[in-house]
Symmetry: C2
Subunit: 384 residues, 2 copies
């Protein structure tokens, strides 16, 4: 391979690029967490966090990644033997199922083909068949397949029922529209290394009153993730908070608020539109039946070694996208449009993809993908 300076571009669905303004916050001196200074910072940060969920509920910050917040949701809501509905249409739906198994839930699984999106009707039927289900676990964006569900529609189904709707918005928060209170979503969990533009290592969870009732009743063992302790010590953490991650979260939330949540959603929509247009112009097919604004999953074309696509893009061009996970390994690749990315990150990803496809012998018109993405940007920014 020819020696050529490589700059590194992370165009994967997490970790995502972290802006310099946030990184420098993380590089600030670590202060002690049991101080009025840090308490004031925590309170401001968690208060501002409500905005990105569009909720009035209290938000808690866990020193863990998103999976920790998922475990917190299961451990605090589900007692052994409780009936729960779990949607499984990808790797992160599977994670809900595994967690529910570990905590001894009685699982009603809605198993879908990977790439499909659960519908409100499907949830309604499951709850009709199982009126004793206490919780519904969903994945707002199934990152493994690039699929977003109609969460608003699903919340309409659960809102007036005696069931708690939980969604894993680890990758979706800020990238897909979410109005927690207005829609009636009961529990939302997220992670830092996605559209919040932070390094990995912090998770957020927020619950409404309906969900808190289950928390008080849960008989599952939990200690580090016992949300009753977080409620008691709020805005402090019961254990040591990740001080420098909080500095960074504080900055990130201010940046997102300053941008405006509708603009943040819209930005993800524009970059996703451009990516999808580029992929189609290259004669490639989207994998998802309901493509997300988080990440675009693309079917590997026939005759091409799918594992080589992200490998060449990373090792030769410095552009890190994601391959397929679990049973999709080698069958899809995924280009993110998540977090601190610009139109030029999309153009970069598509250019590197085109050069890579050319090397792998795929036949297409060089430049067709970039032109299609550029046309979307021209329409959005120039108006034609």
């Amino acid at each position: 391979m020819r020696k050529f300076l490589k700059k590194h571009y992370v165009i994967a669905p997490g970790p995502t690029p972290v802006p310099n303004e946030i990184l420098t916050e993380g590089a600030k001196e670590t202060i002690h967490h049991r101080t009025p200074q840090f308490m004031a910072l925590m309170e401001e940060t968690l208060e501002n966090a409500k905005y990105v969920f569009q909720t009035k509920n209290t938000v808690y910050a866990l020193a863990s990644t998103g999976t920790g917040a998922m475990e917190a949701a299961v451990a605090n809501l589900v007692s052994p033997g409780d009936k729960v509905v779990v949607v499984v249409a990808g790797k992160f739906g599977e994670r809900w199922k595994e967690l529910c198994q570990v905590y001894g839930a009685n699982i009603v699984e809605i198993a879908l083909e990977w790439g499909e999106a659960v519908t409100p009707e499907r949830i309604e039927k499951a709850l009709r068949d199982h009126p004793d289900a206490k919780v519904v676990f969903t994945t707002h964006c199934e990152t493994s397949t690039g699929t977003t569900i109609d969460l608003e529609g699903i919340a309409k189904v659960t809102k007036d029922k005696d069931v708690v709707l939980v969604t894993d918005a680890v990758s979706a928060l800020c990238a897909e529209p979410l109005k927690m209170d207005e829609w009636g979503v009961d529990v939302v969990v997220t992670g830092s290394q996605k559209a919040l533009m932070l390094p990995p290592g912090l998770a957020l969870i927020t619950l409404n009153e309906k969900a808190w009732k289950l928390v008080e009743q849960s008989k599952s063992p939990r200690y580090y993730f016992d949300l009753r302790e977080y409620k008691k010590s709020y805005p402090d953490n019961p254990y040591t908070p990740a001080v420098n991650m909080i500095y960074m979260l504080n900055k990130s939330l201010k940046m997102l608020k300053e941008e405006g949540i509708e603009n943040v959603w819209e930005r993800h929509r524009v970059l996703a539109d451009a990516t999808r247009a580029a992929v189609r112009a290259l004669g490639l097919e989207l994998f998802s039946k309901r493509p997300s604004n988080v990440v675009t999953a693309v079917k590997v074309p026939e005759g091409i070694d799918g594992k080589q696509i992200p490998k060449i893009m990373r090792d030769k061009y410095g552009v890190t996208i994601a391959g397929g996970q679990s049973k999709l390994k080698g069958k899809i690749f995924r280009i993110a449009h998540l977090g601190y990315m610009s139109p030029f990150d999309i153009i970069t990803a598509i250019t590197a993809l085109e050069l890579t496809l050319k090397e792998l012998g795929y036949e297409f018109e060089l430049g067709a993908g970039v032109r299609a993405a550029e046309s979307v940007f021209a329409k959005e920014f120039v108006g034609e």
Copy 2:
């Protein structure tokens, strides 16, 4: 203007992007400069600096920008009344002339149209007409017009004559091939914020024995830039060195050495080729008669407000290129391919340029420039 997150891309001929590995060196604790630790670092750094000039001469680091090193060259080589040949074909040739005026030299000006490159023949003629000239001042790359001279050919003319050849390689060093000793260039000056991938604030100068003879004879007043003092205290500085800039220079030189100077030159050549191909594919014309691998100067097409091009690119798309300087203001714009840039920086610049030209009403096929640049990269990296 629509609100959309802007990431910032510096695609100007200085300052250029600084890699994170270098920035973090600059963020390290400032140690005292009169210590064995710092002396060891200085010595290693200045020793490594010889490599990028391809010289065995001692290199001196000045706590100044490139203009300071240019003044050092003039003050140390030229006594009042000395005859000097100065090539003026742009803003930086003018700077040599202004400096020579300030120091009372008897100036023989080779005045060229901006965009032209002085030839070895032209230098030879000037020296034939003025055999008493003591110094020839040249600009390796005239950044204001994107023009590189045939420095190797010019050195062949001056090498065996009793005249000192000085070149301003502020923007050219590492971007254009330079073999100081092999070619016989007597004095080279450069600045940090170009292909050395550093922030502004440091300059380097190196002289051979032939030049040192003039330094010993010079009657011009100089103190901060008195190179005799630098020689005496080497590797220490006579005054306080820019400690953190030295940390960064040390790292930069190691990175460049690791990459290999031929690879560094070749990298600039490839990015320049792609930029020129893109510009031509958009139906635009290069300004320079002998285009550099440092920066591509492009004529503003008829009927377009030239000052708007860099303005829209920066304010709307976050992409900073350069406009024209002095009499070229509004008539050209300049896209750099200098320092820590990747093929994707070029693609980014061309995409932003296309979107901007579209907004300004220039007629062209959207995507044509990007495709042309991409084709150069495909040829270089994929081989077709």
